[in-house]
């Protein structure tokens, strides 16, 4: 009996130790990004172009703009399809087609992002003969669609059936019930899901490496190579220059702040809408 109790305590301690093992890297990452990144931040960092090697100062303004614009393109292309597919799954997804779509979305969300980069390369870069923000945006859209479809479905399914039945009983046609009652109720949740998928897209690096490439200058055109925060972090990090390493941490802090802010807004929205919140 004593031995069994001992084993019980030992296993509890071991399993609890896992918590520690998970939290140490997290703490270390957050602490270093903040402590090493914060000194790099100033107004110039957000508004200036990258400085050439050897020159101090400069910033990642063009990379921030690039990330925002490519995420924007990704949203325009990806959000309607992703949300639409999610609504389809929730409203009409109980048959075979629904099962196929759901399973495809689940499996697609596991496709490595670098593979999606090759897909965008074949779809956009090859025909256009140049790297472009559009190609980066297409890659992000392809990444957003499956995840968005699944989270939207979950959120729309949370809407109580009684609401729909009440509306139908009042003689409101199906489509208006769907649009005006079910979707309106789920809207807050869907916005949350969209924000979370934007946060994820903003942190993607691999699919941008050979679709948007990079750019040392401001770019306002969708058909030109474009800088992004993540690719900039990568380039700075693997460079041999101390000053650029510092900038990599700074850019990582900016990226984490951007991603964190989006997630926090999403969470706050989810909390405010009772009924659709999780």
């Amino acid at each position: 009996m004593k031995r069994r109790r001992l084993v019980n305590h030992l296993m509890t301690a071991l399993c609890g130790f896992g918590l520690l093992l998970a939290l140490i890297p997290l703490g270390s990452i957050l602490w270093l990004v903040i402590s090493r990144g914060a000194p790099a931040l100033n107004l110039d960092f957000f508004t200036q172009l990258p400085a050439p090697v050897g020159e101090t100062g400069g910033g990642v303004g063009n990379a921030i703009l690039g990330t925002l614009s490519m995420v924007g393109i990704g949203c325009i292309l990806g959000v309607p399809v992703g949300v639409g597919a999610g609504v389809f799954l929730a409203e009409r997804g109980n048959g075979r087609t629904g099962d196929a779509v759901r399973f495809t979305a689940e499996v697609l969300s596991g496709v490595p992002s670098i593979v999606v980069g090759i897909v965008a390369y074949g779809l956009v870069v090859l025909p256009m003969h140049r790297f472009s923000a559009l190609a980066g945006g297409v890659a992000l859209a392809v990444l957003m669609i499956p995840a968005l479809a699944r989270s939207t479905e979950e959120l729309v399914r949370l809407v109580p059936g009684s609401l729909r039945e009440a509306s139908l009983a009042l003689g409101v046609p199906q489509w208006r019930t769907s649009l005006r009652v079910v979707l309106r109720t789920a809207l807050g949740g869907i916005v949350t899901a969209v924000l979370l998928s934007i946060a994820r897209a903003a942190g993607e690096t691999a699919p941008l490496l050979f679709t948007a490439l990079n750019n040392q200058y401001w770019n306002f055109k969708a058909d030109q190579p474009t800088a992004s925060l993540t690719v900039q972090i990568y380039n700075y990090a693997v460079s041999p220059y101390q000053d650029w390493h510092q900038k990599a941490w700074g850019a990582a802090l900016v990226l984490l702040l951007l991603v964190g802010a989006l997630s926090l807004i999403a969470k706050a929205l989810a909390r405010n809408r009772f009924g659709t919140a999780r």
């Binding site: 084993v7 998970a22 990004v33 639409g84 979305a105 496709v111 046609p173 972090i233 990568y234 941490w249």
Partner: protein
Amino acid sequence: MGEVAARHAEPSGGRSSRTNLPDRAWAVSLTVFGAAVLVVAGVIVGALWFVAAPAVKTLGLWNFVGSRQWDVTRDLYGALPFIYGTLVTSAVALIIALPVSVGLAVFLTEMAPARLRVVVSFPISLLAGIPSVVYGLWGLFVLVPLLRKPIEPWLARTHFPLFSGAPIGLGYLAAGVILAIMILPTITTISIEVLRTVPGSLREAALALGATRWEAIRIAVLPYSRAGIVGATILGLGRALGETMAVTMVIGNSPTISASLFAPGYSLPAVIANEFAEASGSLQTGALAALGLILFAVTLLLNVIARLLVRVSQKGPARVAA
């Protein structure tokens, strides 16, 4: 005659289709959106094949997969070093991450107070939300120096053949460790979901028979959720296989095959990330895309298996768990 038939048909068929027209349009447009997901899947496969096909045809698939030479200047393209590196780093990641994440999941669902699970779910979701390039940055400037100085020399003293050679920090081990950290939230979160579907009666029956809490977990809870945990592990593996940036930054980028975990290597995603943009000629581009195709096929297969396992296990007593 025809006119009579038409008038006869009109009232029922005509009116119902008129009132149902918006409904039907709504249904059709929803279905179009749903079908778009299938189209996206088709486009992924098609575009990948389109880029990779010339190289696959020139090099020959098996020749390509089986060759260990990758020398761009001599137009030699073999996938083996990258497949090997991907497998080794993922295996290291699983060996580290699996016990930790399952232990953590068991701790949070079975042992710790419910409130702790809610509190801890936040940092775990944070861990999952950190962009991979930030993991790479941390790996390059924190993990690699740590491995180089105290950890690898210390492991080398065991004289285990896996831990031999110069402790340079960059290499399979560094990539494996960082992958372990990255897939930990995936495996933990899904395992928690799976463990929570275990009926309380099973647990209670074991406890009522005098089992300690750990024994109840070992006898009743874990066997019941085995299929789901295997599924969670495979999903984690899928993520590890496809992870690009963090691995690229710490694996050392050397297209060689080495038995020691300390040695620098290369992985499928890493070589695509490094060489694709500057690939010269369609053969190199195609060979890189073919590497992507291999990666895609493997992760697709793993995801299908994993999703099926998670589904089976969430539906109830798993046949697999017998």
